[in-house]
Symmetry: C2
Subunit: 403 residues, 2 copies
């Protein structure tokens, strides 16, 4: 296989993460260093920017700018949710030829891996030699093959700190509190709420993920039992929970081009759950719901150190593999070395292994119908990094003197 | 005025903040150091804990515990929303007498100042000598006299970083985004969203506070104009916005004992606003709403350094004033020295000046009907502390080669 000489193009696609620009900067750094690559361009708005030839020269950015961009959340190249048609793919190839693009890196989730896969098939059929690589990112952590996805650790950290704080809030002013967490098909991010529970008393007391069918009766019973035991109840629930028939509890109206329902950017599920708890368990109860929303993928200032580091390095690795001359296309993956302390290594798998595939929470990480297992903590802690520690008063009672 | 000898009691009341335990620990430290105070107790659940004689010995806590508690969000003594009746006040006095409580410190907002005021009147009428002090806290920043309230700086920081990130999100995937921010009567916290806007392009593009009447027509016009100009629109809106007749746009059903409607813990207002934008401006628009909810007052790990510092020191000052023998009761305030750099000093004012009073955003901090002024930035920045800085690509275009 020939080592190609030419230009590189980078695009970002799908929902943002807090470290998606670490991967962008990692790619730019490694492309700039590579002898095989002359210029490194960025496509604005992912595939859309290629179709309209809306490209920028990333090689012209200063190192200071790149470092500042790396620590800034959300796609610096702007993003898009677009599934290319056959005509689109042909047009992309024309743009590749016109700009001598021989390396294309698409940072995104499984929809983006599918896009890369489609472009690759078009290029192969047309006999145009180009190295196409999918660089993973998603707060949902639901990509196949990889141990975890860049973006997940930071989002999980945001959720863990949010739940820790909200648990303190709920201890301060007891009641039933429901927190809705992102995760359409997989409960990885909701499971991260479990990191908040250090003692039996701590919330979240109940965790519902899309990997288990949601039942209203079971839910109301769980909440009642928890409230009876603790005088309060903190619930973490995935936006994607559904009943035994697969019908979403929150049925959004809008769907995107990949057929995904709109679940985020609305408080509907939280309000529905809170309303049913009030109706079912007593209108006098103090019931509140928060939907963490886009803050989970975009909050500026809460980042997992290992997530930021790996997101950068996966960009380096992508260029190393692409210019190595042995693998023509693929999706980057992060693998976990056996044993402790936690160590990651980077590898590559076929695009077809990742495209449009979803990895849900492993059974070993789920406990019953309303909780996450201790094994999940071992999985998640190194990805999230050290969390703040709650101070707890010893609270020695003063003897009563009145009747 | 005699310098009283006796025990001290501390309570926490109302909604939590991220630094409310800094004030608690500041009080405990200073009480422990004072010759006038023998024991320092905490009332669990504020006034409710006094009524039930549910007291703990704060003097028995280790310094390490106190330091850990100081950096933990939300009331470590647990909180309450309770307005004491005359009978309650009489019972409180009995508990004070039984435990020789001569110093009472109540950490809370204006409802808590009112409670302290009521207790003081009861004590004076009964001839029981006790020093009663209100120690301010509220993320709403709506207390009278004080320049700002402990708790506000950290909540404002949380909001600013959330909006900065969400603005990046909205640049990545453009659309109309509405963020609902806490603030029942005053727009202080919503105004903090303005800290995110560094360039004309940055959001929030529109800011609505309860100090100005909200009009649906004006709102929809504002959003349309912004969308036409920027291709996107980020809106920050107070939960407490109301029409010209004072009717809340989000009419919650529940009210607490002080007659306050439930606005938080529900996504209803955001969804209402988003729905009206879709209906009014076109169903094809990408419109999303997030309600930041309790994270604003409880998020674990985002704190303003000056807020944490001042919250601790206001506790020290409260004990200094109370044991000084010159002021029998009052509410602690923070005053801002003239000039730069920012410096705060601590003082005390009459309880009646703070009890049940609300300080709304000064006119000088509001611009028109949908924005906050530059003067507000000078006010807020020292309270919030240095914010992260966005990296921005120079984005030099690559010349097009196709038609």
């Amino acid at each position: 296989m020939a080592r190609l000489q030419g230009n590189a193009l980078i695009g970002q696609s799908g929902g943002p993460t807090c470290v998606i620009n670490q991967s962008l900067v990692g790619l730019v750094e490694a492309c700039t260093r590579s002898d095989a690559i002359q210029s490194v361009y960025g496509a604005l708005q992912g595939i859309q920017g290629i179709l309209t030839e809306n490209l920028i020269d990333l090689g012209a950015e200063t190192q200071a700018t790149l470092e500042a961009v790396a620590t800034t959340p959300c796609a610096a190249l702007k993003s898009v949710r677009k599934k290319p048609t056959q005509d689109d793919a042909a047009r992309v190839l024309e743009v590749f030829k016109a700009h001598d693009i021989r390396y294309f890196f698409y940072i995104g989730g499984n929809d983006s891996a599918e896009t890369a896969h489609l472009l690759n098939e078009t290029a192969v059929a047309a006999g145009y030699d180009v190295r196409l690589f999918h660089v993973p990112k998603t707060i949902d952590n639901d990509l196949a093959v990889t141990d975890h996805c860049p973006g997940y650790g930071s989002a999980a950290r945001f959720v863990a700190q949010a739940i820790m704080g909200d648990d303190q809030d709920n201890k301060s002013l007891p009641g039933i509190k429901i927190d809705v967490i992102m995760g359409r098909h997989a409960g990885w991010l909701t499971a991260a709420s479990r990191l908040s529970r250090v003692t039996e008393e701590d919330g979240p007391h109940l965790i519902y993920v899309p990997e288990r069918a949601f039942s209203w009766d079971a839910f109301l019973g769980d909440v009642q039992r928890t409230y009876d035991a603790h005088g309060r109840c903190l619930v973490a629930v995935s936006e994607g929970i559904h009943d035994a028939d697969g019908v979403l509890i929150a049925e959004g109206g809008e769907k995107d081009q990949f057929g995904n329902a709109q679940l985020s950017g609305s408080g509907a599920l939280g309000d529905l759950l809170a309303g049913r708890v009030k109706a079912g368990l007593g209108s006098g109860l103090r019931v509140r719901a928060d939907t963490f929303g886009y803050l989970q993928r975009s909050y500026f200032g809460v980042v997992s150190p290992s997530d930021a580091d790996e997101a950068r390095k996966v960009g380096h690795k992508a260029v190393e593999v692409a210019t190595g001359g042995e693998v023509p296309h693929g999706s980057l993956v992060i693998l976990r070395e056996e044993g402790t302390p936690y160590r990651a290594r980077f590898d590559v798998t076929d695009l077809a292994n990742v495209a449009q595939k979803t990895r849900v929470l492993d059974d070993v990480y789920i406990e019953g119908t309303n909780d996450v297992s201790a094994a999940f903590l071992d999985y998640a802690l190194p990805l999230v990094g050290e969390l703040p520690v709650r101070g707890r008063l010893a609270a020695q009672p003063v003897a009563k003197r009145l009747s």
